[in-house]
Structures are given as C-alpha cells and as structure tokens.
C-alpha cells in the first residue's frame, strides 16, 4: 500500500500534538506508512468561513501546491478541514482553469481518519482495547458536511471492553463554529454548556469528540463546569491497547 500524507491541520498541530502522534502510531500499527509534507500550514477555512474569501483562496492554492508534490491519500484527524478541501476547493477556482483541475484531483485524495480506516483500509477492528463507558459526539462538519455518519460507531463498537452509550442530542452543534465562538461568545458558551450537560447526564466516563475545534471547545466546557468526564479524540481510543484512560 502506498504511504499516506499526513494533513495535520493547524489546530491539531498547535493544540493537539499528542493526537497527531497517536494517529501516526495507529496508522503504522495497521501497516500504513506515513509521510509529512512539512510546508503545510492552514487549509484556509478560517479565512473563507469568516468572509475573507480572497485570503481563503490564496491559502487553498498554497496548501494544494504543498500536497501536489506528493502522492497517495491525504489523511486528517478532522472532518471539517477535510470537508473544506473536498467540497470547497474545487469551487474556489474558475471552471477550466489549471487550479480547478488541481483542486478536483486534490479533493479526490483527502480522507478524514475514520473514513480512511473504514472506507479505504476496510478495517473496523483495529485491535484496540479500552474498557470504559464511552459516549460519542457527532461533529457537524464530519457528519452533515462530509457524510461520515457511521464510521466512528463502527470503529468504537469493535474496541475491546468499550461500552458505547447513547448521548442525548449528540448531533446538536457544540457551539464552536470557528469565528462564531469569539464573535458571539455568550451564545457559544450557552451551547457548550448544553452539550456538557448532556454529556454529564449520559453517564459516560469518556466522550469521543473527533474534531479538533469541537474537542478544544468541549474540553474547555467540561473543565469550566468541573466535569470528571474526559473528552478524547477517536484516535486516542483506537491507539489504546493497555486500556488506560
């Protein structure tokens, strides 16, 4: 199998380095070789979604050029960044332009991690063990945006010792929303508090939040409300073999 290109995302690189390291470990455990295009920075989504479309387009162009020098699937621990590359990039450039052609080729290469594991590697059991009660948040861009609606559950159900429990309103937005979280902090806070209340009521020890933005937001919300529930990225659970939390 050809190596995968790591799309680490600017958010995970700066705030969730451990998630990235575990992702590399997991992929290698499954026999997938990883490569890291070191010149990558940000895919441009924060600009585009805040209304700065020109800057978003410039960032997209430079991101594509970095990855154009590589081959094989491009894998990220984020459905939101992948969705942006997959669905938005081709629309950023005029039809018939070389940039559009490159964007279409790039869009066909990107995968969110769970999508890659289940869809490309055809794996549901990755040999993980995690004997805990786990609830799962459904990130909006991963599920509604990218259409990855069942892959997380497929992978979690195959984890040894893991008890998957229901989370009320699991597909209601956690209130992150990129620039929204700082333009309207009071609303964002009310939304993350509602999310944390549902998590607390679920009886879970761990909540899976497989999206860097949501993870940072929900972790912060749990800390602020002094919850003992731990928010983890799916990768951290799939990488676990000893059963530690």
């Amino acid at each position: 199998m050809e190596p995968v290109q790591l799309f680490v995302t600017c958010m995970a690189e700066n705030l969730l380095a451990d998630v990235l390291e575990k992702m590399v470990g997991l992929l290698e455990r499954l026999g997938v070789q990883c490569e890291f295009p070191a010149d990558q920075t940000c895919c441009g989504q924060p600009f585009y979604n805040s209304g700065f479309q020109r800057e978003g387009r410039e960032m997209a162009l430079r991101w594509m050029e970095v990855f154009a020098a590589t081959a094989g699937p491009i894998v990220a621990p984020s459905g939101s960044c992948v969705e942006f590359v997959k669905h938005r990039y081709p629309l950023l450039f005029p039809e018939g332009s070389p940039e559009r052609a490159l964007a279409v080729r790039t869009a066909a290469r990107v995968r969110e991690l769970s999508q890659f594991l289940v869809g490309d590697l055809k794996r549901s059991d990755v040999g993980a063990s995690f004997p805990h009660r786990v609830a799962c948040h459904s990130p909006c861009h991963l599920t509604r945006g990218l259409g990855v609606r069942t892959e997380q559950q497929t992978l979690l159900k195959a984890v040894q010792g893991l008890e998957l429990i229901d989370l009320n309103e699991s597909d209601t937005c956690c209130g992150f929303g990129g620039i929204f979280s700082v333009v309207y902090p009071e609303v964002s806070q009310a939304m993350v508090e509602a999310k944390v209340r549902n998590i607390a009521a679920s009886g879970a020890e761990v909540v899976v939040v497989s999206e860097p933005g949501c993870l940072v937001n929900i972790r912060g919300g749990l800390a602020k409300m002094n919850s003992t529930v731990k928010a983890m990225h799916l990768v951290e659970i799939l990488a676990a073999q000893g059963g530690g939390r």
């Binding site: 700066n14 451990d18 390291e21 585009y48 964002s188 912060g220 800390a223």
Partner: protein, 485 residues
C-alpha cells in the same frame, strides 16, 4: 419604512434575552420538532427527500420565471374581478392600503397573520392614519396586546408561557383569565368576534399565489384567515412577488411540505383559496404584490435561493443558536436562520451584517428546510459581502477584524513564520498558563476565555516527527511532551 432603520446588534440583543424566554422557546421548539419528526417518519424518509427535491425545483423554477407567472397571475386575478397593485417598496404598499381604506371609510381592520405586513410596518402606518387594527391570529393577538414583536415566524408568541399570557389578559382585557390554553383561546375568540363582524376591511398575507387560476392560497390553523378574508366588505392581500407558483400541482407538493414542516400535520386545518371576488364574499378583492428588495435579491445567483422560503419555521426550530437566544435577538421581522439570511438582504449588511455570523454553520437548518435552501452557503456568501463587498453592496467589516485577517494571512502563508508563531505561542503563554489550561487571556482573546479556558500549547509535533525520523521510529507516539516549555 417610516422610522429610520437602526443597526442590529445581535450580541447586545442576546444579553437582553431572559432565561424564561429561552426556556419557553426551547420547550415550544422541542414539541414542534417531535411532531414534525413523527409525521415525516410516517411519510417515509426517502419519499420525504424526493418531495423536498420537487419542492426545491419547482420553487426555483417559479422564481426564475417570474416574468412569465406574475403577468399571468395579474391577468387571471383581474379576470376574476380582483384588482392587482404593484408596490416597489414598503412606503408604496402602505400607501396603497391606506388609500383603499380611505376610499371605503374604513375605521377598523381585522388582520390575518402576515409576515410581509410586519416587514413593511403596516400596522404602524395604518394606526398613524387613525385606523384600528386587530391581529386575529392568536399568537399575533397576544404579541400585539403585549406591545411586543413576534419571536417566531409561525408561532409569534412562542416565547411566552401560558401564565404570562393569562397575566397579560387580566391586565389588558380586564377579564378573569386562568393559565389554561383553551380558556385563553376562548377569551381571545370572544374579544375578536365583534371585531370580525364590524370591521370595514380584512387584510391578509398569502402563502402561495397560483398563477394558472389567479388564486390566493392562505393556510391557517385557527380559521381566522378565513374570517378575515370573508366577513369584511373589502379584502386586501399583501404578498411578496416571490410567492407565485405556476399551478395547482405545485401547490399540492408545497402544501404537503409546509404543513408537515410547520405544524407536524399532514394538512393545515384551514386552506383558504380565494380567486377574485365571489358572491358570498367581500365586494372588493385587492392583491398588493410587494417587491421591497426582492428583485435585487433575485439578481444574485447565490443569494436568490433565500426567496425559495415558504415560511415554515422549521429552520428556527432546529437551530441551536435560535434555541439559545430566542427570536427577538435577531432584531428584525424574520428570526433564526431565515432571518440571518433575509434581514441583511432587506436592510443591507451595513445595518444587519452581524446576523450572517450568528450561526455556527452546523447545517442542521439545511437538512430540515423543506425546499432545500442551502442556508450555510448563503450565510457564507453574506459574510463575504460584509467583509469584502460584492456587486450588491460595499464592505463594512470592522478594521480590527480586517487587520487580524491580514496578519493571519501573512503568518499562515509562510511556513517559517507559521513555525515561529507556534514557538512564540508556547513561550508567550507562560504567564497565563495554569497546568494544561490558559484560563484567562487578555482582550480580544478573552472573547474565548470568558466562555471556557483555552488549552495550553503543548507538545511539538514537528520536533517529535523530526526526532523520530532521525531515530527510525524510536519515539513512543502520544507522549506529546517532547518540547514542553
């Protein structure tokens, strides 16, 4: 509009919303969503998706063929004895209605629920001319009595509890009202019945205009629409030009979508179809076709899908932002996601440019919209209009945000500056760091930390990757502590 329009400050409005209003809002939307879910499930998910697609396609067809259907509608309404008026804006529409009222010496008016009349400030205009206007939809009646604005397009008093409404009735109607919905409804009915009988004019909006027969279609659940358009001697309907549809086959599709999305019913209780004048009805029927910015919206190929809206309210019921702020925060006539799209297009982004940002782009609204309006896509388009300007309007973004974007673009556009930025963040955070968290940061970053702590910049993936490659995969993954400052 008469009063000069003020800038909408969504953030300030949010802080005005009381917890009681939000609790009442959530309670009502939860019920609405549950019954909608049941009826859509019974219809069948796949069939529902096909119906939505059909609804979208025929609405878009109608919108892009207004030049065909509006003249046809005018011809058929006129042939049936009605009169069609064209109003370019709110002032013209209000003037037309006042003029008709004056010609008939009208003193009091009964009104069926109409969003467009809210949009043009019709009640205000009529009251200024000395006319009495009675809202006859129960929710609108309550809101009018309270001197408030509707907080939801189909359930205007959704933010109020039955206890508040009983208190309001006792105070304003001087009656003994208990917080029992049936009794409150009966009190409103008693109060309104003489007004229906004595009114000189009935005013309504319209859900659809059927071009092939020149028919105005109004759906209500209380029957007040039928009374308002039947009892008074003159009926004036004010309808946006986008509401025209080709034929009854289109109406059949749209009514199925509308009833299920609005009230979770298979069909709305009262479907009133009015074609011109009729023997047993009002002697005069006037149809005011309102533009008020709609043709400008239509000229924009992305934003035009806003006009597909059939005003069901499902987008606001499902919206997590709406459910945490209540309808009044949107400052305009339309609330929730449809308000966030439509208000900035009607008022301009200079006054309402904050509304397209009042969304997390979670996409729940687009999944619920019965005519498949790509709501997040339109919000992004309006954010862009606000920031960079487009053919429709110039930019009005604040300087600070522009400067932040410029700086961000420089840093993230250069791998070396980006890496330097990461290293600097890990150093500069030291005075703010408490364990794994940065609990409070200076302005403007406190906009994040006021709501929840920010995680400390931890680990250094690049140096981990570098060491690991050099050592041949010897570093244990996930320790993340390699370069902790």
């Amino acid at each position: 509009m008469k009063e000069p329009m003020e800038k909408i400050d969504f953030r300030a409005n949010v802080q005005q919303a009381s917890p009681a209003v939000i609790a009442a809002t959530r309670n009502s939307t939860r019920t609405a969503l549950r019954i909608r879910g049941d009826v859509v499930h019974a219809f069948g998910e796949e069939r529902w998706q096909r119906l939505r697609q059909a609804g979208h396609d025929l609405r878009l067809h109608s919108l892009t063929h207004l030049d065909r259907y509006l003249p046809l509608l005018e011809e058929r309404v006129t042939a049936a004895g009605g009169r069609v008026h064209w109003a370019a804006d709110a002032a013209e529409a209000n003037g037309i209605v006042r003029e008709i009222a004056a010609r008939h010496n009208v003193r009091s008016i009964v009104k069926s629920k109409s969003m467009v009349s809210e949009e043009i400030g019709l009640n205000h205009s009529l009251e200024a001319a000395g006319l009495r206007v009675y809202e006859t939809d129960l929710g609108e009646f309550i809101v009018q009595l309270a001197g408030q604005k509707p907080s939801h397009i189909t359930a205007p008093a959704l933010h109020m509890t039955k206890e508040e409404i009983a208190r309001l009735f006792r105070e304003k109607l001087k009656v003994d009202a208990r917080p029992v919905p049936e009794e409150l409804t009966e009190l409103a009915r008693q109060r309104l019945r003489p007004e229906f009988l004595s009114a000189g004019m009935g005013i309504s909006g319209g859900n659809f205009l059927i071009a092939e027969t020149g028919t105005l279609l109004i759906v209500t659940n209380e029957g007040n629409g039928r009374l308002s358009t039947t009892l008074p001697p003159v009926h004036v309907a004010i309808v946006g030009i986008e509401k025209v549809i080709p034929d009854w086959e289109s109406a059949a599709v749209l009514l199925k979508l509308l009833a299920r999305s609005t009230s979770g019913s298979k069909i709305t209780a009262y479907n009133t179809c009015i074609t011109g004048t009729r023997e047993a009805g009002p002697q005069e029927f006037h149809l005011v076709l309102l533009d008020n910015g709609r043709s400008r919206i239509l000229a924009d190929p992305i934003a035009r899908e806003t006009l597909l809206c059939i005003r069901c309210g499902a987008c606001m019921n499902i919206c997590p932002v709406y459910n945490n702020v209540g309808g009044h925060a949107y400052g305009g006539v339309y609330q929730g996601p449809i308000g966030a799209m439509l208000t900035p297009q009607l008022m301009g982004t200079r006054l309402a440019g904050g509304l397209p940002f009042a969304s997390t782009l979670c996409g729940a609204c687009a999944e619920f919209c019965p005519v498949m309006i790509p709501i997040p896509e339109i919000l992004l388009h309006l954010r862009h209009r606000f920031v960079e300007g487009d053919a429709c309007e110039g930019p009005s973004v604040p300087g600070l945000l522009k400067a932040a974007a410029w700086a961000g673009r420089r840093v993230l556009g250069s791998p070396s500056l980006y890496r330097l930025g990461g290293r600097m963040a890990r150093t500069l955070q030291a005075p703010f760091r408490r364990g794994d968290w940065l609990p409070s940061l200076p302005a403007p970053l406190n906009r994040w930390t006021a709501a929840r702590p920010f995680p400390a910049f931890r680990g250094d993936f690049r140096s981990w990757w570098g060491k690991r490659t050099a050592a041949g995969s010897a570093v244990e993954p996930g320790t993340g502590r390699g370069a902790r400052p």
